[in-house]
């Protein structure tokens, strides 16, 4: 599935990711936790191909090195990013946006495009998943959406796009408890043997709803600790203090249980 090998990312000559390794198998859900500025979001955007990153290393999805591809080709390869801050696109109908997105990746994969009526059924199912009211699809993309609506819209898009790998970047930030429950149950419904997920979060709270198979701690641009979901509970109690002030030269010797096979 996803193999990230020695990923180094700098932005304007500042090193953000520093030799990150990660393996995600089919159907697995991995959580990446870490303090502010540790490089969690940069990891998501390096995978997605945002402009302005200097990148070394490899990140293969189903054998294809994502880092060689344009962002849209990475999407066609099955990568989906749930954005921490989904952008607003005024005047562009949400339904039109979604169908254009879906048909773009279908075209890129050599599949037939999906017509308006068939799409409506796909969209309706996704709407039910995130408990969106009818009319939601006729609004402009994210324009004037509340924080919770934006995040639910991301999950709705994920449901429609049916990615191989979804990277959810702080999907829990800014959500009240009800929205969190809706988002989490949407994510859980989309788990499956052929779909892997990386859930990036600050807090253990989300992981009470989305039980990860593996938890990784990202500090200073590399994964310094990996474990099962109990690692998240440990972080909840003790914070990142155990990991933040470590000697960087030490880091690779720390156990990388679970993540590397």
């Amino acid at each position: 599935m996803l193999h990230v090998n020695n990923l180094n990312v700098s932005i304007s000559d500042t090193v953000i990711l520093n030799g990150l390794n990660l393996d995600v198998g089919p159907g697995e859900v991995h959580a990446i936790m870490g303090p502010n500025g540790s490089g969690k979001s940069t990891f998501a955007h390096a995978l997605a191909g945002r402009d302005g990153y200097q990148i070394a290393g490899t990140a293969t999805l189903d054998g294809v090195d994502l880092l060689d591809l344009e962002p849209e080709a990475r999407a066609a390869a099955g990568l989906f990013i749930g954005f921490q801050y989904p952008v607003e696109i005024p005047g562009v109908n949400n339904m039109y946006f979604l169908r254009t997105a879906l048909n773009s990746v279908r075209r890129a994969r050599g599949d037939t495009e999906i017509g308006a009526r068939d799409f409506l059924a796909v969209a309706q199912e996704a709407m039910d998943l995130v408990e969106m009211k009818p009319g939601f699809l006729n609004r402009a993309v994210n324009a004037g959406f509340s924080g919770g609506e934006k995040k639910r819209n991301e999950i709705l898009q994920m449901a429609v796009m049916e990615p191989r790998l979804a990277v959810l970047d702080e999907t829990d930030s800014g959500l009240d408890i009800d929205a969190l429950r809706i988002v989490a149950s949407g994510v859980n419904a989309l788990r499956g043997p052929e779909r892997s997920m990386i859930v990036i979060t600050h807090y253990q709270r989300l992981l009470e709803y989305i039980r990860p198979d593996f938890v990784h701690v990202l500090v200073d641009g590399r994964i310094v600790e990996s474990g099962d979901h109990t690692l998240a509970l440990h972080l909840e109690d003790n914070g990142y203090a155990d990991f933040v002030n470590h000697d960087l030269d030490d880091a690779p010797t720390r156990p990388l249980s679970g993540a590397t096979r």
Partner: protein, 480 residues
């Protein structure tokens, strides 16, 4: 140049797809402008004496006037004596049916996607096709005549309905109104004429298609639309020109008269050749468009301006009657080296008059886009209302957007609102769309179309589709 900027540049350097010229056998006057040319035009068209006199008065006025220089436009000096003021494709003298249209001309319009065969045309749209100085054909005349609607070339109207023309010509845009209107009044060649009788709802969309073909000619058309009491008409106008290295002058005048409770909706998709990326060639478009709205009447201008090297155009409404309504919806795109100085004037005279202005300016490449608008509320206009919204979108770092609103209010009961915004197509928006699998081109086109949504929603369906396509083509390029 960053990668994103380069991409925007590629996107906006797309080729002009209507740049071909057609080899039409053309009757053309020698370059130069004097009274003799004015007389020549008038006699070519076999005009009555009053019209020649009107032209000569306009010509005298024009000679005494000076080119306006207040617009934010850098224009190469125009040598008015180097232009030819009359060019007409030679063709058979009488057109009894569409089959009589010169095959070369028909081919040209087919190539432009405007078939002149009635059975092939867009259903429910009558077309008046104008090449260079003259109207070559008008479709669906018989259907319209049944409803009492007159839709014909201006020249025909002068011959067949002289009283209507004489009563209204210059009644909204007087000959001395401005330099280009005076020039047009002296040398206008053809255009469209449209008359909707009282109480009639025009059964189809009326449309004029303008095409400049000949070299070194100016095009000066004149459009007059008269909507009698309680009538309704929707009128569309489209324009293209061949790709030529020299600048071509286009100075049109459009006059609308909406009598009591009448409604005129006037839509333009202007795609004159914009010149190349170095600013060579392209149409100089100096247009005066104005409507007069009587009591409870409504005039609505919608324009999508993607072409021309220079656009100087301020469609206006004189809100003369009480409770009359004026609207202006505009999308103006300036890419390459295009410059647009465009906006609207709303003159409130009657009580309880309302006007709204929605302007969307898009600048790309080295394009310069200026919104210039006037909202004037006279002392008589009790409870006048205006709402103006000017949004500018910048694509790239070498273009400019400017907003220059003028507001003059003489009645304290007026309510005038002005909102303006300037934004860029965010790299974040493009990235978001691309993460969802869309190509950069599709994403750009989608975002820009979204920006223009409020205006496109005002266009008749066929035109809305055409406008979106045009905008995409104008932004398209060599990406991928």
């Amino acid at each position: 140049m960053s990668e994103a900027l380069q991409e925007i540049k590629d996107l906006t350097d797309a080729d002009y797809e209507y740049g071909f010229s057609s080899d039409l056998d053309t009757d053309i006057a020698p370059p130069g402008l004097d009274e003799d040319i004015v007389r020549l035009i008038s006699s070519k068209k076999d005009e009555p004496a009053w019209l020649l006199e009107w032209r000569l008065k306009a010509f005298a006025a024009w000679k005494s006037m000076e080119e306006p220089d207040w617009a934010k436009l850098e224009i190469n000096p125009i040598d008015y004596q180097a232009l030819s003021y009359w060019a007409a494709p030679k063709m058979k003298p009488v057109l009894d049916s569409m089959d009589d249209v010169d095959p070369d001309i028909r081919e040209m319009f087919d190539k432009l996607g405007i078939p002149l065969h009635e059975q092939k045309t867009l259903s429910n749209v009558a077309v008046d096709a104008i090449v260079d100085s003259v109207s070559v054909t008008t479709t669906f005349k018989k259907t319209l005549a049944k409803a009492g609607v007159i839709f014909c070339s201006f020249s025909e109207a002068v011959q067949d309905h002289p009283d209507l023309v004489r009563e209204h010509l210059g009644s909204v845009v007087p000959v001395r109104d401005n330099y280009f209107a005076a020039l047009n009044s002296a040398v206008f060649s053809d255009g469209s004429f449209c008359y909707i009788p009282a109480g009639v709802r025009c059964p189809m969309e009326l449309s004029t298609y303008f095409r400049i073909n000949a070299m070194n000619t100016g095009q000066f058309e004149r459009t007059l639309i008269i909507a009698e009491d309680d009538s309704h008409v929707s009128y569309l106008e489209g324009c293209t020109a061949p790709q030529r290295d020299e600048n071509q002058l286009h100075a049109a005048v459009v006059e609308l008269v909406a009598k009591d409770r009448a409604e005129i909706k006037y839509s333009t998709v202007q795609n004159w050749y914009p010149g190349d990326e170095n600013g060579v060639g392209g149409i100089y478009n100096f247009v005066t468009k104005r409507g007069r709205a009587h009591t409870d009447a409504k005039i609505s201008w919608t324009q999508v301006e993607t072409g021309s090297a220079i656009t100087w155009k301020y469609p206006s409404v004189i809100l003369q009657g009480d409770r009359s309504v004026g609207e202006f919806y505009s999308v103006a795109l300036s890419s390459k080296r295009q410059q647009a100085d465009t906006g609207s004037k709303m003159i409130h005279i009657g009580a309880d008059t309302t006007s709204s202005i929605i302007s969307k300016g898009i600048s790309a490449g080295h394009g310069q886009n200026t919104y210039r608008g006037l909202v004037k509320v006279l002392r008589s206009a009790k409870n006048a209302r205006n709402y103006t919204q000017c949004d500018s979108l910048l694509l790239g770092s070498e273009c400019g957007a400017h907003t220059i609103p003028y507001i003059e209010v003489k009645n304290p009961s007026a309510r005038v609102e002005h909102e303006a915004s300037t934004s860029t197509v965010g790299e974040d928006q493009l990235y978001y769309c691309r993460q969802r699998g869309m190509s950069e081109e599709d994403a750009m086109s989608m975002i820009v179309n979204g920006f223009c949504r409020e205006v496109f929603d005002e266009l008749p369906m066929e035109f809305a589709v055409e406008a979106q396509r045009l905008l995409s083509v104008s932004l398209e390029g060599s990406v991928g």
